[in-house]
Point group: C2
Chain length 366, copies 2
């Protein structure tokens, strides 16, 4: 998608055919810089230091990391060493393990001299598949926005989103924002309410930055604001992403998603969750009971980073010295509050039968 | 209440019997400083610059401002001049106008030579009445907390609050926090979840500061977190304040209150609103339709103030340059989501009959 009028992906192969370039997301939204990954160590560090973030992008970065390792040394030993270091850069990322496993299996199936081109083409394939998946989610979601636009011909469709499920966490397009990009490119007038998404502010920084780049009208709001907007008819629909989806349609997403869904339900505003099928955990039936919610460092609540007028990025304390904080990263929105899931194979009701109907091939592995 | 082990009110008469001292709340929570008000101009500036904030405290500051004017010049003209300047320091504050009207009427009923002592005693009476009202709200609310404590004898009562309805916005005790202070002093173990309350962060700064001073266990949370806590049984009850209450029990309070009430309702967590009867607007039947919600400057969303490691307070930008923000200050929680109103005359259901039953003298003016 676009930044300052130029098209970017979040990760790409450089002209040397070897090194990999990524957008340094830790500097956004205040500075746009890219970083070159020249070794698997670089890739592991980029994941660890959140230069790259978002499940799909972490997976692709891991895959390219393994390709960089193979470019240096295509032996089994070297691959295993790089695999272990890359996996250790974010041990809990399901997508990272999946991408690394896929690449390693593929590499081990070929003799060392043939592994370098294989590694790069397989990493590129993972990236392309992610783009195709996001593209499809975008098309299916845009149809929903398009239908909503018919009900308000005289004004933009107001869409509320939460956190960042945009192209910056994928390779291109994103999940929750893909339908918005597709709708906008199809000429539908949209306006996006961007919840800032404390404590890490991915909405106020990354989603706002993405929408600015695509010239899509939007307004950042405090996370407290969604309910008021919905009470006053200022939201036509909500679209959020999902970090993990139960096979019954319960959605685990960034903390705060649940209360937005409650407000949507209370005001008869449709609440959509856009997700690639890779986030569906077919083993899980009850998201609320079975998904363990990560508790993160309290400093994300007590402190915040921002840009001073002089252009310095500084970290400041918000709370009194001595007041503790708690920092739960995600919450679970029960399926009963979700109007529909928007997947790469189409939209469906948030329940087990509907998900199985769309993904009989995946559901069989439950 | 206590700060660093010493008891304070938010405003008090100095030993000179003339000047008035206030806590400089614009510096909290990072620095504790007081400011001397020596003229009605000082009082007006303190209100305008948010050195003092909170409806009851603004009213008392206005009253003392008029007393300071009278100390300089007790003529009708001088009183009218001071009245106009003080009222202009926060034109929308109902409580400020009420306090100024009360004091002016009282002063005009006496000859100029007798006005100075009258002004100071009337200002002191307004302050004392506020303390008595908060004290009574505290006692009635503490009974509710005490009953909740019986249901969890082995652990503290977990209470969620939003924004700051504590002693810093009143003279002492506060409204939503008064029951917590009273319960804690009665030996009931409590733990308070403090929503940070973006965009102005009154929870993370003022409420946390208050609870720290009273040594009440608490944790600051992002505003997104309340729903998750309630889903997991980590909140026994919610208590919030009210900026304006419809005679039917709809509550207009800091933005985000509505979504916390929805989460409480969805998880069968009692949701209480503590309020002095002075916030009840008997003319209003439907809070959602009739109460105009103030929209504030977008810079409160795009920027934030905090303390650097070197101890400087700095203001930083959070959003990308060019991304607009919207900043609605309040929302309305429908009475159907409110378990009970806690007033200075006791708790009652959030409906017109119950409010009229408690306040037949006030409801008659509807």
């Amino acid at each position: 998608m676009k930044i300052n009028g130029r098209h970017y992906r979040t990760i790409w192969l450089n002209a040397d055919g070897r090194s990999v370039e990524v957008i340094d997301q830790s500097k956004l939204p205040h500075a746009f810089e890219t970083q070159t990954l020249s070794s698997f160590h670089d890739a592991a560090e980029a994941i660890k230091n959140m230069i790259v973030r978002g499940a799909p992008l972490i997976g692709v970065t891991g895959a390219y990391g393994l390709a960089l390792a193979v470019a240096d040394d295509p032996t089994d030993n070297a691959i295993e060493t790089a695999y272990a270091e890359l996996l250790g850069s974010r041990p809990t990322a399901v997508n990272l393990r999946w991408a690394l496993d896929r690449l390693r299996d593929r590499l081990f199936s070929a003799p060392p001299p043939k592994r370098r081109p294989l590694a790069y083409s397989e990493a590129a394939a993972i990236a392309e598949e992610d783009i195709q998946s996001c593209h499809a989610i975008g098309e299916h979601g845009a149809a929903i926005i398009s239908a909503a636009a018919l009900r308000c011909p005289d004004r933009p469709v107001n869409i509320l989103t939460h956190c960042n499920a945009g192209w910056l966490c994928a390779v291109d397009w994103g999940t929750a924002l893909a339908p918005i990009y597709k709708a906008a490119r199809a000429g539908i007038a949209v306006h996006v309410w961007v919840g800032e998404t404390r404590p890490r502010n991915q909405g106020a920084s990354l989603t706002a930055f993405e929408l600015l780049g695509e010239a899509i009208p939007h307004a950042v709001i405090a996370d407290n604001t969604g309910g008021h907007l919905m009470q006053h008819g200022l939201v036509d629909l909500c679209i959020v992403g999902s970090d993990r989806t139960a096979r019954t349609g319960d959605v685990c997403n960034k903390i705060g998603t649940y209360m937005k869904a409650l407000a949507a339900h209370d005001n008869s505003v449709p609440f959509y969750v856009a997700l690639p099928s890779s986030t569906v955990d077919w083993r899980i039936a009850d998201g609320l009971k079975e998904i363990q919610i990560e508790e993160r460092d309290q400093s994300e609540v007590t402190h915040i980073c921002g840009r001073t007028e002089r252009g310095e990025t500084v970290r400041v304390r918000l709370t009194p010295n001595g007041s503790p904080a708690r920092n739960f990263g995600f919450d679970v929105t029960p399926a009963r509050l979700v109007s529909a899931l928007i997947t790469e194979r189409g939209a469906c009701a948030a329940n087990e039968a509907a998900l199985q109907g769309l993904f009989p091939d995946l559901a069989n592995f439950a």
